[in-house]
């Protein structure tokens, strides 16, 4: 087990470096030049200015050299300097990380819990009205664009009922501390987390339902019934557990994207997270910042893929990995 993890970590680092290099070229393949974007914003685009910017960012150097400089930085855990924001990338990401994690982890927990719960119900009452209702409920939040759902939420809960704040991470200028602050943040968190959580929920709901229906017909469920176990326990312990594998896979995939995955939600709710940072960096071709976010995301994905593989063994002891 330990050696499996160790091997994967080593491979992970290599993959990460490869990804960095790939990304480096990928984003430079996209048309657009950060210097020109910035010049455009500054309301001045004479040649001197653009050239200055290029020099400043090292964009005038040949690409391989830029790559070398960047990779050298990454190896020493230095993610470089953001062109546009004129600050170290690591710092910019660090500032946003807590908010992002708070939002995405909450949403992830919501989606997983509700999804599995609803999926279980749908499977148990398959073919009934409840099943249909759950399906439609889940799909509404899935198939309706996030911004639409978000805006409806805002209109309902902020504008009409005035229960929840519509934007931000905390009440600006309130200077709350301790518990009051936590409550304040929680209030701000509810809507974005729900929006995002309800979106991801559909996948788990549908997956759990289908998978459980599949398992429900297997013989060992009969054994469980022969034991006189209650329906709830059978569903949970026997059916659900055996149906969990695809859910775990998807949860792994989703959790890997936690950091970069919430652009729209962060935008609509003005949540100061990394998704937004990445999005802006992308539009402005802020290469270093974008790469930095990508590196962090990649690392997350690799870590969660590893965790998923480990969880596989817990979920299904029949799975073996050659290490």
């Amino acid at each position: 087990m330990l050696s499996f993890v160790a091997q994967r970590v080593v491979k992970g680092v290599i993959v990460l470096l490869a990804i960095v290099i790939l990304n480096f070229f990928l984003i430079r393949l996209a048309p657009g030049d950060p210097a020109v974007v910035m010049a455009g914003e500054a309301g001045a685009s004479d040649q001197v200015f653009v050239k200055q910017l290029r020099e400043k960012f090292g964009l005038d150097k040949p690409l391989p050299e830029q790559l070398f400089i960047y990779v050298k930085g990454v190896v020493t855990l230095d993610l470089g300097f953001s062109f546009r924001q004129q600050a170290p990338v690591a710092k910019l990401i660090g500032e946003r990380l807590p908010a992002t994690l708070l939002l995405t982890l909450t949403a992830f927990a919501i989606s997983l819990m509700l999804g599995v719960l609803f999926g279980t119900f749908a499977a148990r009452f398959a073919g009934t009205f409840l099943d249909t209702a759950i399906t439609i409920f889940a799909l509404i939040f899935y198939a309706m664009p996030l911004f639409w759902v978000a805006l409806m939420g805002i209109l309902l809960f902020s504008v009409t009922m005035d229960w929840l704040p519509s934007f931000g991470y905390e009440t600006v200028g309130a200077n709350l501390t301790g518990l009051a602050h936590a409550v304040d943040v929680a209030k701000h968190l509810i809507m974005p987390a729900m929006t995002l959580g309800l979106f991801f929920m559909a996948t788990y709901t549908r997956m759990t339902r289908a998978s459980m229906l599949e398992v429900k017909r297997l013989d060992f469920v009969k054994t469980a019934r022969a034991k006189g176990l209650s329906d709830a326990v059978i569903q949970r312990r026997h059916v659900l557990r055996n149906a969990l594998l695809p859910v775990v896979t998807l949860a792994g995939v989703h959790s890997g994207t936690l950091i970069g995955g919430a652009v729209i939600t962060e935008t609509v709710f003005a949540w100061p997270g990394i998704g937004r940072l990445m999005y802006d960096a992308l539009l402005q071709r802020d290469y270093n910042l974008l790469l930095g976010v990508f590196v962090i995301c990649s690392a997350m994905v690799l870590i969660f893929n590893l965790i998923t593989d480990l969880v596989y063994r817990l979920v299904d002891p029949r799975i073996e990995f050659a290490s």
């Binding site: 087990m1 054994t223 469980a224 019934r225 176990l229 299904d316």
Partner: protein
């Protein structure tokens, strides 16, 4: 026979879905289970025994429905029970041992937890006590190394171990009614004797009513109070054990009894001059399962320096205690698992040195019949495909392959309609025959048969054994025949190897082994063969 029946089945008629073999799985079956008595249900494979058992538990498959009849228990008709009512009865009052333990156990739960669940289901004991109880049960059914085995998952157990886990679960709450559907098919005779004793004891001390489905007339002779003979879904004969044995009325019963193989090995021509078909040299296999972060690993020596050879046209029997490594040796020979050490030769090919395409090309020469028929059939493939896939992969024209599949099914006693059905639509014995048909489809030189006839009633068994004998004679088929049924072994094997704890302890021509067993374990085995006294009686 004065005690009123605990359960009484009246005129039960179970409808099968369209496309099945016949319209009704059982038709007009009545039978009584009395407290403290064992009713043995015997009969043809596919005659509806398991259906009756499932109906008694209220656990018929969705596609099957009860068309008529009633099941009386304590003054109630069980068929009118709602879910809650059933839940209360199941486990505590009614318990069942399922026919196919592999698929009947939850693959993702540890054995011990599955046993402990029995108590939990009815809110008995604390979690800690439950665990202790599970351990005690494991010990009681003779599972080796109980501490470790309760932490193992079903796929890490041998066939017989799984079966014992099932039995332990069913007996856990000492139910009033026990339904045992071929509970000892995978057990060697010594273990079987132990289990039968256990059931007997409980039945007597707790006044348990037992419905015991089996094909083994030895077992019937040993334990039955009452015998019911089923055929084509109808009861053809019923009566006290002694009567049925000594004075069978119905022709079918007579035929059945006549088909019970004898313990005396027939004389066999020596085969010394034949070429070697299989040679196994120094096979070692140890299973290591990680115990997690804190526990010790579980290590099981499934094969220790196993050596044997099989000549062309020879049948080598492999007998031995449950969990001794027979199936593992079979898998090693098949190269389904990799040996830690040792080589396997098939004819002049060293199988253990091959891989990839080369290995695949040799596969058709050696075929296997799996111990767990249901688990070895793809639930989403029709039987026709299951049988024909191998030949088609080997280049046979599909039409020819399907024709052959049909013939094979007929040879093992199934009708052609079976081609179009899915594995779950068959009875245990029928599935086993599908497995046999699949192995024969490729016309292999060697067959590794792992408990290949254990789920078959004696008449079908005899038919299948004849078929194998015939192939042997005609095509020089060699067999590695794993069985716990020493009667069968006596009839079909040229030589027999006895295994214990991963090692072959004795290997001799059959007659010699039966006449003068050397190893203590062999002697123990022979002594434990059930039904000896009754048999003498019947002869």
């Amino acid at each position: 026979m004065t005690a009123p029946p605990a359960v009484s089945i009246k005129n039960l008629r179970i409808a099968l879905p369209e496309g099945a073999e016949r319209p009704f799985a059982v038709d007009g079956v009545s039978l009584d289970l009395r407290p403290g008595k064992i009713v043995c249900v015997v009969g043809e494979s596919g005659s509806g025994k398991s259906m009756c058992a499932h109906a008694l538990m209220g656990l018929l498959p969705d596609t099957v429905s009860i068309a008529a009849g009633e099941i009386q228990f304590e003054g109630r008709d069980l068929l009118k029970l709602d879910d809650d009512g059933w839940r209360d009865l199941r486990g505590r009052r009614f318990a069942m041992i399922f026919q196919e333990p592999m698929t009947a156990l939850n693959p993702l739960m540890r054995i011990g937890d599955q046993m402990a669940e029995m108590f939990e289901a009815h809110g008995l004991l604390t979690p800690r006590e439950r665990r202790a109880k599970a351990l005690a049960l494991a010990r009681e059914v003779g599972l080796p190394d109980p501490e470790r085995i309760v932490r193992a998952y079903p796929h890490q157990l041998s066939g017989g171990q799984r079966q014992r886990a099932m039995i332990a679960m069913a007996l856990a709450l000492e139910p009033a009614v026990l339904v045992a559907d071929e509970p000892t098919t995978a057990l060697d005779v010594t273990t079987q004797a132990q289990i039968l004793k256990l059931i007997r004891n409980l039945q007597q001390s707790r006044n348990m009513a037992v419905m015991f489905i089996t094909h083994d007339f030895g077992v019937v002779a040993d334990i039955a109070d009452q015998v019911v003979v089923l055929r084509h879904g109808k009861v053809v004969e019923e009566g006290p054990a002694a009567t049925v044995f000594n004075a069978p009325q119905h022709d079918y019963t007579k035929a059945l009894l006549a088909a019970v193989p004898s313990m005396d090995p027939p004389a066999r021509a020596p085969l010394d001059d034949r070429a070697r078909a299989v040679e196994v040299i120094g096979l070692d296999k140890t299973y290591v399962t990680s115990g997690g972060w804190f526990r010790e690993d579980r290590r099981v020596d499934a094969a220790r320096a196993v050596n044997f050879n099989i000549l062309k046209g020879e049948t080598l029997g492999l007998v031995g205690e449950s969990g001794s490594g027979k199936s593992s040796v079979a898998r090693l020979v098949m190269r389904l698992i990799e040996a830690d050490r040792g080589t396997v030769w098939i004819g002049d090919t060293e199988l253990t040195s091959l891989s990839g395409k080369a290995l695949r090309a040799e596969r058709h020469r050696i075929q296997m019949i799996f111990q767990d028929p249901f688990a070895s059939l793809n639930p989403r493939r029709k039987v026709g495909h299951i049988i024909a896939d191998g030949p088609i992969a080997a280049g046979t024209d599909p039409k020819v392959a399907f024709d052959r599949a049909r013939d094979l099914l007929k040879m093992v006693g199934l009708d052609a309609g079976a081609l179009e059905r899915y594995p779950h639509e068959f009875s245990g014995g029928q599935r086993q025959r599908i497995g046999i048909a699949r192995a024969l489809a490729l016309e292999p030189e060697i067959i590794v048969a792992d408990e290949a006839v254990s789920a078959l009633d004696v008449s079908v068994q005899a038919q299948v054994l004849r078929l194998l004998e015939d192939l042997k004679a005609r095509l020089g088929l060699s067999m590695l025949f794993i069985t716990h049924d020493l009667r069968v072994a006596a009839q079909i094997c040229d030589r027999i190897a006895v295994m214990q704890r991963g090692a072959v302890v004795e290997l001799k021509p059959t007659a010699q082994l039966f006449a003068s067993p050397e190893h203590a374990y062999t002697r123990e085995l022979l002594a434990a063969v059930p039904g000896r006294k009754e048999r003498a009686l019947a002869d």
